[in-house]
């Protein structure tokens, strides 16, 4: 008998099933008839003869079942039968099925969305060669702050030559991307540009999609400068045209030629649209050769070299280079080496992991809910199961069928979940905060689909198998004998469901508490006192021709003219130049300073300072109160005494209990033969201009004595912001038509950026929280409804015996609140542990913030009370006497 033959006969059986079934049935009948006829010939009465014949066969249905299972392809048949049966059961009970599918779909969709995010951001390999061997390094300033000191292009070249552990190394801007003006066909716009040294793309090991990368030979001053553009910019701006190569554009007033396009997903530094060399930045500008100095090292390790080994080699090399360093460069800083992946993904990992944890909890709640539904149905179907067991269905068959049923539900839920995932990703992706790394690589791919199926399968296992086993645990035959078709619940089922509800409430408390913490964080962040009248401030971004304004005097004159022109507008109360946009975290650092009289050790303990170079009217414009002393004046100019204003926190820390006015400080912490001392003339209140999350200790210096690179002005207005915007544009044109206004934006708009990610996290966790709340409430409702149904006779009896409706309601409500309360208490304990995951995402809220955690518990209790309202009402509405008579 060949395999093929067997396969064909198997198929024939499956295809001609109905005829075969009929034949089998007829044949069994005939057999029974023949046996019975023989018995009757022996004198047995007809009825007895027939019963004996059926007994001889061992039961008609049982015999048929044995024949069926002896056939080839019986398993296929059985599986098909189970699936059909599962489908039939699901269709027969549409409310139940819909509820179960929706419940599971919520859990599955939430999990897949998070998996898609995590897969895209964390798991999918970065589009570079051997990412495990890539490192990024900078130097540690050994101070309390997080200030990082860059390597510098020259040192990187020296290190790359000398290193035995690095294959190659290059430099990449230490500050991430910058914003530059790009002009093409006299249309100007901002692009995010990254400064890199020549070998950058070779170190990453990425090949261009079109054209070429930036070669070492391109990294030369004065030559024609080249640009490599990102896939995103290529699509947006050039419509993906191959003609883009050779395009000439002006970037920061220098001509560039586009030589290459990167493949998608190459997003390093984050948000980059064009890459150019550090040498393409003119050193004649106000920052000198900062572009060359402020780069981090990116390097490729030789195989099997660890980060620790690389760190120690870089330390040694760095010490050697320190020995013959130029006199004004800081020495003795220790290199810090991080894996490339760490640097790219950064702090997003924490929040994604926290969100994934939350969503897995939601999935658990959903599974518990589905399990609960299945359990309840299992109980009401106990009669059916008992009958089928008596008719010859094996216990294994029953369990298998129950499991297949929940698998059918779970797969339906998986399909719905996948659709919901697709839709939510489409909705969510545009909502994702800027600066979330690798957003481009988030999509539904095979891995995500496979994990959805896996999640659905595990859910089916959890939700289906446990109730299946539980409902079979009780002896089915004794159930039949007891006459109980209308389910009298065994204790096992009821306890199982109670445990499920308690667990659901506990998990929901954890998620809701987490959401509460994040929401409170965002509220705190939004209402934090910035020390600035934010809603009356605007920022005007200017594009000043570098060649025209390279001269410092000329630049200062222009800014002075701008200020007086703007202030002549009646609705502009004050205007002052600023060097950096607010709330970006960007700014100038003074990593080290020494107060007069401090030892080197004391100075080393000083916090790094944020440096603001400001005009005399700065404090007036921002309405930052001067706590002591005076503001800068026109008399504080080059050649007169060097003065400074410090923020209150520095004053308090550096000169505790003393009057800071007249005290002197200098930059740097090393002994200096010719120190430049700044005399403190004022103490200003602290602000969050630089960083929304925390006020930075700030040193203010007069622009006239230090330097001013401002290409923007901040305005304080008294009128509507849009009106002021057009007035400001006119005034700029009046002062110099060559200066372009790139953007006029209110400060409130700039608050959006730092708030975006906390808001997004809070939003997602709130969605999960609401889902958890809903699911667990539904779960409690279902259990309470069943509880009331099962005890309706007891309740009727109580009522008949004179209990008041209120008393009965109270005793039912007590059951509900007891379950919810126990869940809430367990949830409180869980939340106390779990909210620690959120620590890094919180702002001025403790992970154990009582109002969030206890609030969550109370919310769940309230929802539970609400959920049990309907069953409680039903408990007393039923007609007691009718109920008692019914059996």
């Amino acid at each position: 008998m060949t395999l093929l033959h067997r396969l064909i006969s198997m198929l024939r059986w499956v295809i001609h099933r109905s005829r075969a079934e009929r034949e089998l049935n007829d044949e069994m009948e005939v057999f029974v008839d023949m046996v019975a006829a023989d018995r009757m010939r022996d004198g047995v009465p007809a009825a007895d003869a027939r019963r004996a014949a059926v007994l001889h066969l061992g039961g008609v249905e049982q015999a048929k079942e044995r024949v069926r299972s002896a056939r080839h392809g019986a398993w296929l048949d059985a599986a098909a039968r189970d699936v059909r049966h599962g489908l039939r059961m699901c269709i027969r009970n549409p409310t139940f099925s819909l509820l179960a599918i929706l419940t599971l779909a919520i859990g599955v969709a939430g999990t897949t969305v998070m998996l898609a995010l995590i897969q895209g951001v964390l798991l999918r390999p970065l589009p570079v060669l051997d990412q495990d061997r890539l490192i990024v390094a900078w130097k540690d300033l050994r101070t309390l702050g997080d200030a990082r000191y860059p390597f510098g292009a020259t040192e990187i070249e020296a290190v790359a030559d000398a290193s035995r552990l690095l294959v190659n190394a290059a430099g990449v801007s230490a500050h991430g991307v910058g914003r530059s003006v790009m002009i093409e066909n006299s249309v100007s716009s901002f692009v995010n540009d990254a400064l890199v040294t020549g070998g950058f793309f070779d170190v990453l090991g990425v090949r261009p999609l079109l054209g070429r990368t930036i070669a070492r030979a391109d990294d030369v001053e004065g030559t024609e400068q080249v640009l490599v553009i990102s896939h995103g910019l290529w699509q947006r701006r050039y419509g993906g045209s191959r003609d883009v190569l050779g395009h000439r554009v002006m970037l920061s007033e220098r001509p560039f030629t586009i030589v290459g396009v990167m493949p998608p997903d190459v997003d390093y530094p984050s948000g980059v649209e064009v890459w150019r060399t550090t040498r393409s930045v003119p050193t004649t500008g106000p920052f000198g050769d900062a572009a060359r100095r402020e780069v981090n090292l990116i390097g490729r390790l030789r195989p099997d070299v660890t980060i620790a080994q690389a760190t120690s080699e870089l330390t040694t090399l760095s010490e050697q280079l320190d020995a013959n360093a130029a006199p004004d460069t800081p020495v003795g800083l220790r290199p810090v080496v991080r894996s490339f992946e760490d640097v790219v993904v950064g702090d997003v990992r924490t929040s994604l992991v926290a969100l994934l944890t939350a969503v897995v909890l939601v999935l658990l709640i959903a599974s518990a809910n589905a399990a609960n539904l299945l359990l309840m149905r299992g109980e009401s179907r106990r009669g059916e199961l008992a009958v089928r067991a008596a008719l010859g269905a094996g216990r294994g068959t029953l369990v298998r069928q129950l499991f297949v049923e929940s698998l059918v539900l779970a797969l339906a839920a998986g399909a719905v979940g996948l659709a919901v995932t697709w839709w939510s990703l489409k909705t969510l992706l545009p909502l994702l905060p800027d600066g979330l790394p690798r957003v481009e690589s988030i999509r539904i791919d095979a891995t995500v689909v496979v994990s959805t199926i896996a999640v659905a399968f595990v859910t089916a296992l959890l939700a289906g198998l446990v109730p299946a086993l539980l409902s079979l645990k009780a002896d089915l035959v004794s159930h039949l004998r007891s006459g109980g078709i209308r389910g009298v619940t065994g204790p096992s089922g009821r306890d199982g469901r109670r445990i499920l509800v308690i667990g659901q409430v506990a998990l929901a408390v954890i998620i809701v508490a987490g959401a509460g913490l994040l929401i409170r964080s965002v509220l705190r962040l939004q209402s934090v006192d910035m020390g600035l009248p934010v809603d009356r401030l605007m920022l005007v971004n200017l594009d000043m021709p570098q060649a025209k304004y390279a001269d410092r005097e000329r630049r200062a004159q222009f800014l002075d003219d701008m200020m007086s022109q703007l202030e002549s507008v009646s609705s502009i109360a004050a205007a002052t130049p600023v060097n950096v946009s607010p709330f970006t975290g960007q700014g100038w650092d003074v990593p080290k300073f020494t107060a007069e009289g401090q030892s080197v050790e004391q100075a080393a303990a000083n916090a790094p300072l944020n440096l603001e170079s400001v005009h005399a009217n700065y404090f007036d414009t921002f309405q930052v109160p001067l706590v002591r002393g005076r503001a800068f004046t026109a008399a504080d100019r080059e050649g007169s005494q060097d003065v400074a204003i410090v923020s209150g926190d520095i004053a308090a820390r550096t000169w505790p209990g003393k009057d800071p006015i007249g005290k002197r400080l200098k930059m740097g912490d090393l002994p200096d033969p010719k120190p430049k001392w700044y005399t403190v003339v004022g103490v200003a209140a602290t602000t969050r201009y630089r960083d929304l999350m925390r006020p930075r200790p700030t040193l203010y210096l007069p622009a006239a004595q230090f330097q001013m690179t401002a290409q923007m002005l901040a305005l304080r207005t008294t009128a509507a912001l849009d009106l002021v915007a057009s007035l400001a544009r006119d005034r700029v044109q009046a002062v110099d038509p060559d200066v372009r206004v790139i953007r006029v934006a209110p400060f409130t708009e700039m608050l959006e950026q730092p708030l975006a990610r906390p808001r997004f996290n809070a939003f997602l966790l709130s969605v999960f929280g609401i889902a958890a709340l809903l699911l667990s409430t539904i779960g409690l409702y279902a259990v309470m409804a069943a509880y009331v149904r099962q005890r309706d006779r007891e309740i009727a009896l109580r009522l008949a015996l004179g209990a008041t409706a209120t008393a009965v309601r109270r005793f039912v409500l007590a059951e509900a609140l007891w379950l919810a309360g126990l869940g809430a208490v367990i949830g409180l304990a869980g939340a106390a542990g779990a909210t620690r995951l959120l620590r890094g995402m919180l702002f001025e809220v403790e992970p154990l913030d009582p109002s969030s955690i206890i609030g969550a518990a109370l919310l769940l209790m309230a929802a539970s009370a609400l959920a049990s309202y309907v069953p409680v009402r039903q408990a007393t509405r039923a007609d007691a006497t009718a109920m008692l008579r019914s059996d």
């Binding site: 034949e23 005939v30 024949v67």
Partner: protein
């Protein structure tokens, strides 16, 4: 039926017996079980719960063919008859059984 304790059909020999019975003439299920009892002088007791699965599997494997025919009592029953493949199978089984029974007998008598 006698009161003598019935033997179960030895494992793996039911197919051989079915095929043997059907060599003579086509037969329905009840007839096969009756014939089996008679030929074994009532020693073998075949459970219909085992007989029918065997019949269906032999049919599915192409050893037997079945069709509905009238019985001697003018009822309709499903009659099984041997196919060519069934005859070959019977030959093979028979030869093997001969060897097995010869070998078993030799061992028992030689002991």
């Amino acid at each position: 039926m006698s009161d003598v304790e019935k033997l179960d059909v030895p494992q793996g020999t039911l197919d051989l017996m079915i095929l043997t019975i059907l060599v003579r003439e086509p037969m329905h299920g009840y007839g096969i079980s009756q014939r089996l009892a008679a030929l074994s002088h009532d020693h073998f007791h075949v459970n219909p719960g085992s007989l029918f699965p065997s019949l269906y599997r032999l049919e599915q494997d192409g050893r037997l063919k079945a069709d509905w025919r009238p019985t001697e009592n003018n009822r309709r029953a499903r009659y099984y008859r041997l196919t060519a493949a069934g005859r070959r199978q019977l030959e093979r089984h028979r030869k093997r059984w001969d060897r097995v029974s010869f070998a078993v007998r030799s061992v028992l008598e030689g002991a």
